[in-house]
Symmetry: C2
Subunit: 446 residues, 2 copies
Amino acid sequence: MLRNTSKHIAIAGAGLVGSLLSIYLKKRGYSVSVFERRGDMRSSDYVGGRSINLALSNRGIRALEEVGLAEELKRIAIPMHGRMMHDMKGNLSYQAYGKEGQYINSISRSALNIALMNEAETIGVQFYFEQKIEKTDLEKTTLTIEDKHKKFTEKKFDLIIGADGAFSAIRDAFRISDRFDYQQFYIQHGYKELSIPAGPGNTFQLEKNALHIWPRESFMLIALPNPDGTFTLTLFFPFEGNPSFASIDSTQAIKEFLEKTFPDAVALMPEYLKEFEQNPTSSLVTVKCYPWVKNNTLLIGDAAHAIVPFYGQGMNAGFEDCRVLNNLLDEHKDNWETLLPAFQQLRKPDGDAIAQLALDNFIEMRDLVADKEFLLRKKIEAKLYELFPTQWIPQYSMVTFHENIRYSEAYTKGQKQKKIMDEVMAQTNIEETWERLDFNEIVGRL
Amino acid sequence: MLRNTSKHIAIAGAGLVGSLLSIYLKKRGYSVSVFERRGDMRSSDYVGGRSINLALSNRGIRALEEVGLAEELKRIAIPMHGRMMHDMKGNLSYQAYGKEGQYINSISRSALNIALMNEAETIGVQFYFEQKIEKTDLEKTTLTIEDKHKKFTEKKFDLIIGADGAFSAIRDAFRISDRFDYQQFYIQHGYKELSIPAGPGNTFQLEKNALHIWPRESFMLIALPNPDGTFTLTLFFPFEGNPSFASIDSTQAIKEFLEKTFPDAVALMPEYLKEFEQNPTSSLVTVKCYPWVKNNTLLIGDAAHAIVPFYGQGMNAGFEDCRVLNNLLDEHKDNWETLLPAFQQLRKPDGDAIAQLALDNFIEMRDLVADKEFLLRKKIEAKLYELFPTQWIPQYSMVTFHENIRYSEAYTKGQKQKKIMDEVMAQTNIEETWERLDFNEIVGRL
């Protein structure tokens, strides 16, 4: 019967979601302890293992606003107003993400995480690093934790929240409990990070305020800007087949392939060969599971719904989880017994929707954005959006800029719009005639 | 480079599949050690935890023939030639499973398992009981095993085979390795075993040579005969909702519900209330994963593809795995390096197919078998089978009696047949006119 806010809550994971959630809960008056397997990323000897920058958009910003950190963090973020596509010859084409003033933000993962941890500590959250969760007892609500001296301690809490990511240790206890549905699957592509250094005087060597894409049908390279003038590049590339990480297996083959495929990028990357050979190749997992709650233990963020990065929504979805949970704490007057089931029922369809959207968007990013018919489709949809700004909102906009539309709603509406647009695009001579379409009638089909 | 048969193979799990596989491999000349978490079921103090009897059909029998045990085991099996349906008033209707002479077999799980272990030990397989696999190292091909004295030992093998069931410990090592796709999901129903005792002089109180079904749309009770005149009953029933294990929560409610719903069965079950209240309620999981092979470790049987029991194929599929593996050992001249990838590529579609067939068949068993239109459909299909015995084989027959047809093939063909039958059944007045159908034309649609 966890009703009042004097309870002691353990959060597993001091990543982005765990740190943000600790602030929300501490502000409500809970006693909050955060246990992190890795060391403190604020210490000098910390070695990171995750992606360098992230796309922060409206859903994430909304949560940061609620905890009072949005302004501070926007200052270190770089707005990206659209996609800049690079073809094989280095020709550029540009596509805005939304209307004037709508943009996503490139932000440093570590800067964001550190800001969240600092704020959390300032208001009294206790962080414990190098603490490995060895066992979670879902009946007793206890954690058995191994500290850096290999000492094991069993600790009891009123509530445990697993915000410990795609490979959550808390979730392991769920997985071996009865009637827990669980799925993990990998796409055929892995990724490798590369970089473009800053130009003279920390200038940006590519357009600063865009997300750059080198779409190559079955794979792609992308680049996000960093405040110091550098770009972090990510190559999403098949593990097997031709071409693939497996097939390009010599320095010479790497050199030839990259120079031929991404000539304008490679020209700006003096270290690309070294980076390609030395940086790890990582895999991309989707995790789905249910329930997210067993007794007094909850899974949240990637621990509950890890997704691929192609919609730039992983962190934003996790932050939205925290905001939704906080709203439910208001609604349920901090009665966890009723709010935990309500939380998972409400959020599960949204987690499933963004997982599917993220998988689908990979095909859009790597292939369709270079497709003439697809660009015309986007143009027609932009026109519909302009004429009927509340009735026809393109799916990308719903997901990215309309935080009041649930992911599941964005998914369903987007599917409906896609069906209508398929019909529109099937009309003969649509390239010539599209401006004379009866847009009223099209919106009427919704 | 495991080429010749002097290698040492560890099998995890002394269940049906592990024991059968150990015989196959020992007969080829391998040194085979079987490690079982539980005690020896042949010892007097063994407490079982699994279902009491199973349906053995052609695929399983084929494997038992290959290891020379089919005749011995058929003697303790009871042929079931068809389904005997019991309605709410105790009225019976009967549906044969196939043609004259085609039947499935009710067999005791423990008797079958013991026969396999005895044979394996006779030919030199080493069994080790109460051995818990703590860790599997997929790189080094080692098992860290905890014995009953809590002593841990790391053992190295040339090959490790995980035949340790739906909750395989070997599979845990796969799950935490990179790029392993894994899914476990539970159906909404659980099951509980009940029993009908033998009549005077060990007589059978229901028709002996049938599988009995009490189909009740959203749930069902089934009964399989045992050699001692008893029947083992299994109630498949929702966990939640109304009615469900949760809703029938008092002795009085259980009594009223069972007496009303299964009157003829309950009349033969003096202990039904005690059994209902004391026997455990178990859940039903489906497990899918891939790959089944990492280096020199292989998953097989339920460890690779656990399914629900509604097609009576779980054990048969596992036995078929062993037979297919043995065939590939012949083909590849015991070169495991090439045969392991070949095995998983060949068998994965069959594992997926039988998983889906088993899920689909639950609806057929609990609901459709009591449906008039469905029975007519079966009658028309039986006619097609009679007229075109090689072209139109009903799906149930393909799966159960035609061991040369792969599960994946039976699934695809069955889907095609279903589509044609949907069209046939949609004809007006089909109940009256079906005997005048142009059966030649129908088969021509295949």
